[in-house]
Structures are given as structure tokens and as C-alpha cells.
């Protein structure tokens, strides 16, 4: 999540063929990747899909730093393996499904600026839903800045300490409380600015 702004920077600044491709086509491509993940029943098929996505990833010259993000969802797949009774075939099968999904999504986000993605989604999904999605995504950047400042202040003043777990828990909760109050204040200012710019239930994007 911390790399969100970097991901957005890569999507805007890089100029590979995948960056220049229409966002609509890339979203359709992502739908096909998902379709493949859901319908493929054999390991070679999934490996082929993953290899294709990897090839696209490196052809789009996306920094290696971002590639590590594609492995993050494997953490959650581990819990599901306990259901299977540790079957090797099943474990590989699940892992490749996870890797195909995460690589596809990161590929889309690293090659398409988020307003373009929301602009395409706005044509097929209800406007209030897409507006909520856009505002939430936008708000993450605002809150992340506040949260990082609060986190630094707490670390510097010994806010988190192993030997004082209860005090640490209170400080963590206060940090979240602070984040929520600041978020509410920022949302009020955001609404005023939106009204000033003519907002009426829908946000219009640059391409519209």
C-alpha cells in the first residue's frame, strides 16, 4: 500500500507500448485473464498464462521493485492450503492462480493511470459506485500522508514499546482515531471544493 504513489507514478511516467494501449482494451484483457484463472483446470494452462503475463510485465519495462508486489497475495493463499491436506499439485495450482491474478492486476495498475481506469468503469457501473471508488482511492493518498507523520511522531516519542503493550495499544488506537478525525475534516473540505467545481453526484474525468 505504501508503494501506491510509486505505482501511480510508473503508470503516468513510463511510455511503453502497454502504457500507450487504450485503457478499455487493457481492462478487457484483465477480464480475459480473470476468465482464464476461473476456468483453467490444469497446471500447464496456468503456467502458460503466468508466463504470458510475465513477458508482458518485462516488455512494459515496469521496475523490478514493483514486481515484488505480485508475490504479496501468496501470504493469504497459505491459509487455504490447510484445507487441502498439503497436496503438492493443489498447492502449485492455487499458487499459480494467485500469481496470475496479482500479476495481471499490477500490470494493469502500473500501465494505466487510475483516473483512466475509473473513467472506463464509469461507463459500465453506477456513477455513485464509481464516484465512491474514486474518492476512496484519492483519500488513501491523503490519509497515508497523515498516517506516516503520526507513525513517525509515535516512533520518535517511544509510542510503540514491547515492554508496555497496553500503552502501545492505546497509542495505536489514538493514531487511528486521529486519522479518522483528520479524515472527516478533510472530507468536509473536499466536499466544499467539489461543490465549488460543480459536483452533482458524478465526477467527470478528463477524457469525458
Amino acid at each position: 500500500m505504501i508503494q501506491l504513489s510509486y505505482l501511480d507514478y510508473v503508470a503516468v511516467e513510463r511510455k511503453s507500448f502497454l502504457h500507450r494501449l487504450s485503457p478499455k482494451l487493457k481492462i478487457i484483457g484483465m477480464v480475459f485473464v480473470l476468465l482464464g484463472i476461473v476456468t483453467l483446470r490444469n497446471l500447464p494452462g496456468l503456467i502458460f498464462l503466468y508466463a504470458t503475463l510475465l513477458a508482458l510485465f518485462f516488455m512494459a519495462r515496469i521496475p523490478i521493485k514493483i514486481f515484488s508486489l505480485t508475490f504479496y497475495p501468496l501470504i493469504f493463499a497459505i491459509l487455504f492450503i490447510f484445507i487441502s491436506g498439503f497436496q503438492a499439485h493443489f498447492i502449485f495450482f492455487i499458487f499459480f492462480k494467485v500469481l496470475c491474478g496479482s500479476t495481471g492486476v499490477i500490470l494493469l495498475l502500473a500501465t494505466t493511470p487510475y483516473p483512466s481506469i475509473f473513467s472506463v468503469l464509469g461507463k459500465v457501473l453506477p456513477s455513485s459506485f464509481v464516484t465512491a471508488l474514486f474518492l476512496t482511492y484519492r483519500s488513501i493518498f491523503i490519509l497515508l500522508k497523515i498516517f506516516e507523520e503520526t507513525q513517525h511522531a509515535l516512533y520518535l516519542r517511544g509510542g510503540f514499546q514491547w515492554k508496555h503493550p497496553w500503552r502501545s495499544l492505546i497509542n495505536i488506537s489514538n493514531a487511528f482515531g486521529h486519522l479518522i478525525i483528520k479524515g472527516i475534516d478533510a472530507s468536509e473540505k473536499m466536499y466544499e471544493s467539489m461543490v465549488l467545481r460543480g459536483f452533482k453526484n458524478k465526477i467527470f474525468y478528463r477524457e469525458e
Binding site: 505504501i2 484463472i37 503438492a88 502449485f92 495450482f93 514491547w162 482515531g177 467539489m194
Partner: protein
């Protein structure tokens, strides 16, 4: 342990693991519930509160992304968001949060509908429990703790219910061997052994529940304590927000 890094009521399943009928039903029910809840809120009211919804959604996403280091746990802040947003808006907020979380690998994209249903149980139930318990007990922190604990208890069981609905599908996935590039038929002739193995290797929901429930219990207590402390902090600085 990294497994712990996650809230137990959120289905961290990848795409293609749950049966199609289950996740499609999840989407249909989530959309229907959303459509019904939208009838209870005026258009102007929705437009006015969308930035707040966005901020609370962002706080929930950040809560899920930030690991609390000494205890390696992440909060999801759904109950406090439910208390501040109300039952109609918290459903939309959890829908949006699940879309964003799915984009960053916290559960698959196809599981968004089911995740919205299980997670919004926390928000909606938490809101009503908080209102009721606060009126009965007159104590903010205890009412918030209990509302969060009970809401998480129900949403975790909803998540287990969803997982158990796909049991026959997981069995199919586990036993579809032989088509891969890796060979797993080394003990082809030993039929007796394979039968025993098949029993052992079947879907082990009990093992899964045995892992989830104790971790879940610790999670309910932690989330309950953190939510109660957040409510106390907000009450101290902006008491108007909790009325």
C-alpha cells in the same frame, strides 16, 4: 506468524478457488442488498456524504495494510466506520474497500461480492449493537467493545459458512491430478495406500476451522479493544460524531 496478518472475517481466497455459482450468487446478493439500502437514502444526502464515505473507506484500506508490529495484526475498522457512516453507507463503503483490497491481493476479484457480504455484517451489525448497547449500558467503551466483539463473531462464522459451501468444489480441485507438467503418480500400483491417502488428503474443514477460530478469538478481542479505544479518543475530541 504471517498467517495471522489478516482479519478472520475477510475471505482471503484467490480467484478460481470458490465454485462459480457461489461467487456469482455473492455478487447478485450484494448488488440486491445495495439496491435496497440505496432506497433508504436521499440522492442529495448520498452526494453530500460520498467524500466522508471515501475517507472512511480509505481508513479501512489503510487499517488493512498497516501491520501492528508488536502483535502482527491488522485491523479492519469496519465497526467504527459503520457507527460513523450508518448502515446504508457502510455497505457501499465495504463494497468499495473490497474492490481496492482485491486490486492489492487481499482476496480475489471474483470474491468481492462475498467479502462485501461478510464484512458488511460487521459494519451493519456493529452499528445497531452499538446503538442498543450504548443506550442500555450508558458506557461508551464497553458498548463499543461488545458491539465489535459480537459483530466480528458473527462475520467470522459467516466467512466459515461461505468456505464450507464450496467443500465439494475444493475436493474436485484437489483430486484433479495428472494433467500437470509435474508427475505425481509415483505410487500408481499401491491402491490400498492411495485409498488411505485420499481419505487423509480430502478437504479438511475441521483443521481449517481449528486454525481460524482461536486466531479469530484473539482478533475479536484485539479489534474490540482497538475500536473501543478509538471511540473513546473520538468522543474526547469530537463527541458530536458519535451521536
Amino acid at each position: 506468524m504471517r498467517l495471522w496478518e489478516g482479519n478472520m472475517s475477510h475471505i482471503h481466497l484467490p480467484d478460481g478457488v470458490l465454485p462459480v455459482w457461489l461467487w456469482v450468487s455473492g455478487f447478485i446478493v450484494a448488488i440486491l442488498v445495495e439496491a435496497i439500502l440505496f432506497r433508504f437514502i436521499r440522492k442529495e444526502e448520498l452526494a453530500r456524504r460520498l467524500p466522508l464515505l471515501g475517507m472512511m473507506g480509505a481508513a479501512m484500506v489503510l487499517g488493512a495494510a498497516v501491520e501492528i508490529v508488536p502483535i502482527a495484526y491488522h485491523v479492519n475498522l469496519t465497526v467504527i466506520s459503520g457507527i460513523l457512516l450508518g448502515p446504508s453507507l457502510i455497505f457501499l463503503a465495504t463494497f468499495v474497500v473490497n474492490v481496492i483490497l482485491a486490486l492489492f491481493g487481499h482476496g480475489g476479484i471474483t470474491v468481492i461480492g462475498l467479502n462485501t457480504l461478510t464484512l458488511s455484517i460487521e459494519g451493519v451489525l456493529g452499528y445497531f449493537l452499538f446503538r442498543f448497547l450504548r443506550r442500555v449500558m450508558k458506557r461508551l467503551t464497553l458498548a463499543t467493545f461488545l458491539a465489535t466483539f459480537i459483530a466480528l463473531f458473527f462475520s467470522t462464522f459467516a466467512m466459515l459458512g461461505v468456505i464450507s459451501l464450496g467443500t465439494s468444489h475444493y475436493e474436485k480441485l484437489i483430486h484433479q491430478k495428472g494433467e500437470g507438467i509435474f508427475e505425481f503418480h509415483l505410487a500408481e500400483g499401491k491402491h490400498d495406500d492411495r485409498e488411505g491417502e485420499a481419505k487423509e488428503s480430502g478437504v479438511n474443514l475441521r483443521r481449517f476451522i481449528a486454525i481460524v477460530l482461536p486466531l479469530g478469538f484473539i482478533g475479536w478481542v484485539l479489534e474490540g479493544a482497538i475500536t473501543a479505544l478509538i471511540a473513546r479518543y473520538i468522543h474526547r475530541l469530537r463527541p458530536d460524531l458519535l451521536h
